[in-house]
């Protein structure tokens, strides 16, 4: 078995998702090749070579790969991928963007969002926003998978695999990078945060979301919201946690003034510890919360901030 992993990085450094994908690949078994496609990304290739279990690193360094444009990366990966039994990438917005394109060009299916490896051809993945878990078997010659990073731990480091430079350039010429604005927040991203605190309709208005700030600062938490809070216009919908929003699985999830509609639960029920704060003792959120506090959030939140 030969596995190709496409590294997730920002040219300067490798992202931790890549280590998790390597961990998933180790469960499949076989030689692991990591492809670093980027521009001025030599340091990233060196980092990839240090991951335990990696056999070799392929380094494609060209302006065409600088912004991970799907059209160019997919052309490169399709060319290389023919020699492998498995092609893996993280189920991030980057991996989700280019990998289906690769699968279609190789005329094989893609298995999305793999959360467990049963064997070299059998994989487990959530469907219906995690409300059902499917085990699927692929008979394709090349298995193309995106791996959900939250489901795997990071591979160890302490290796010195050989790095091979690739010279062929694949510039499809059908897409052009214009700009990129990365949110400059002191807070972690919702999907990567160790702690998430979310507000619901019980917050009553957008200004009251400020009550969550101090707690989030103290816990290093990301701030989310329920669909009800988004639909009511309290906060923008990039904060939405739920079936149609972001799916999160942090170590600690604090639901404040959230009743616990199915829609919302689908986005956070895999969190390790769930805390619910709601004045309605009958709210469905309490059925899945590890710790429930039946109280008025406007008295609880300042108290909580003070006691942390």
């Amino acid at each position: 078995m030969a596995i190709l992993i496409i590294a997730e990085h920002n040219n300067q450094s490798l992202k931790s998702e890549t280590l998790k994908v390597v961990q998933a690949a180790t469960a499949i078994g076989g030689d692991i090749t990591v492809l670093v496609a980027g521009f001025n990304s030599a340091a990233t290739a060196t980092e990839a070579a240090a991951i335990a279990g990696v056999t070799r690193v392929l380094h494609a360094d060209n302006a065409a790969y600088e912004h991970q444009l799907a059209e160019n990366i997919a052309a490169l990966v399709t060319e290389l991928g023919k020699d492998y039994s498995h092609i893996l990438a993280a189920a991030t917005t980057t991996g989700k963007n280019f990998l289906p394109r690769v699968a279609a060009m190789l005329d094989v299916a893609q298995i999305s969002d793999v959360i467990a490896i049963e064997s070299a051809d059998t994989f487990v993945r959530p469907i219906y926003a995690g409300n059902a878990i499917a085990t699927v078997k692929s008979a394709d010659a090349i298995k193309v998978l995106t791996v959900r990073p939250a489901a795997f731990r990071e591979a160890q480091t302490g290796n010195n695999a050989p790095v091979e430079a690739l010279t062929a350039v694949h510039d499809a010429g059908i897409s052009r990078f214009v700009t990129q604005e990365l949110t400059k927040s002191e807070r972690p991203e919702l999907t990567a945060a160790r702690v998430v605190i979310s507000g619901g309709r019980g917050m009553q208005n957008g200004e009251n979301f400020a009550l969550l700030n101090g707690i989030a600062d103290k816990l290093g938490a990301a701030i989310g919201a329920s669909r009800a809070a988004v639909d009511a216009g309290f906060v923008p919908n990039d904060m939405q946690v739920g079936q149609t929003g972001k799916i999160v699985a942090p170590e600690l999830y604090i639901a404040v003034g959230i009743s616990g509609a199915i829609q919302h639960l689908a986005g956070m029920k895999d969190s390790k510890v769930i805390v619910a704060i709601n004045k309605d003792a009958e709210a469905p959120i309490f059925q899945i919360a590890d710790y429930g506090l039946v109280a008025d959030l406007f008295t609880v939140l300042p108290e909580l901030e003070q006691q942390l």
Binding site: L69, A70, E71, T93, T94, K96, N97, P100, R101, A103, A104, D107, V108, A109, Q110, S112, T122, P126, I127, Y128, A129, N131, I133, A134, T135, V136, K137, D140, A172, I174, S175, R176, F177, V178, T179, Q180, T183, E189, V195, P236, D238, T244, G245, L252, I262, Q263, K269, D270, K272, F286, I288, A289, D290, Y291, L293, V300, E303, L304, Q307, L308
Partner: protein
Amino acid sequence: MKILVPVKRVIDYNVKVRVKADQSGVDLANVKMALNPFCEIAVEEAVRLKEAGSATEIVVVSIGTTAVQEQLRTALALGADRALHIETDQNLDSLQVAKLLAKVVAEEQPGLVILGKQAIDSDNNQTGQMLAALTGMGQGTFASKVQLADGKVQVTREIDGGLQTVELPLPAIVSTDLRLNEPRYASLPNIMKAKKKPLDVKAADSFGVSLSSNVTVLKVVPPATRQGGIKVESVAELVDKLKHEAKVI
């Protein structure tokens, strides 16, 4: 310019999903079905582009049993001009769907294809990217803004940690994310009008595309259930439990 909008009929997002006892899949008998939320956003975007004068015709297409005509009528009521139903009883994977859609693209020659980034049943997030690969077009996935100008489309994409804008020559494929727009509700007069709009039916096996998949579902099970925990009496008790029992802070 013509816009093609592929749409999918899925379980309504408010319905509680139940897995069948024989582990063969999810129970869809007598369950409320609806237009996939991301597809609804795709239809809305196409309608807005037409209202802005950037598009002249909106064609919606859906693949499945006769039941999908209900969702095609919904799309027509929201403002699409005509519909194509590709009829099949088979459950298709994204690759097969993309292959059928590529045939439709070849026939209809749209200037733009807008579709949802993923369906909330299979959660694959693949069809748009695969269609782009098969048609050789550029792809603007997870769009939160779409701007047409000079035979090109600028797509602002929701990426982890922020936004990225790319420019693609037309024709191109755009897949929608949540922030792109807020879909309207169909008005009663428009629902009535939609009943008279053209809806063609073609058999899926008439497209010369292999509909068989190499992926088999071995079983579908409910997720591990969560046990409800305890109620705490005060903030102090909560903080204490989180520190000393759960050890997460």
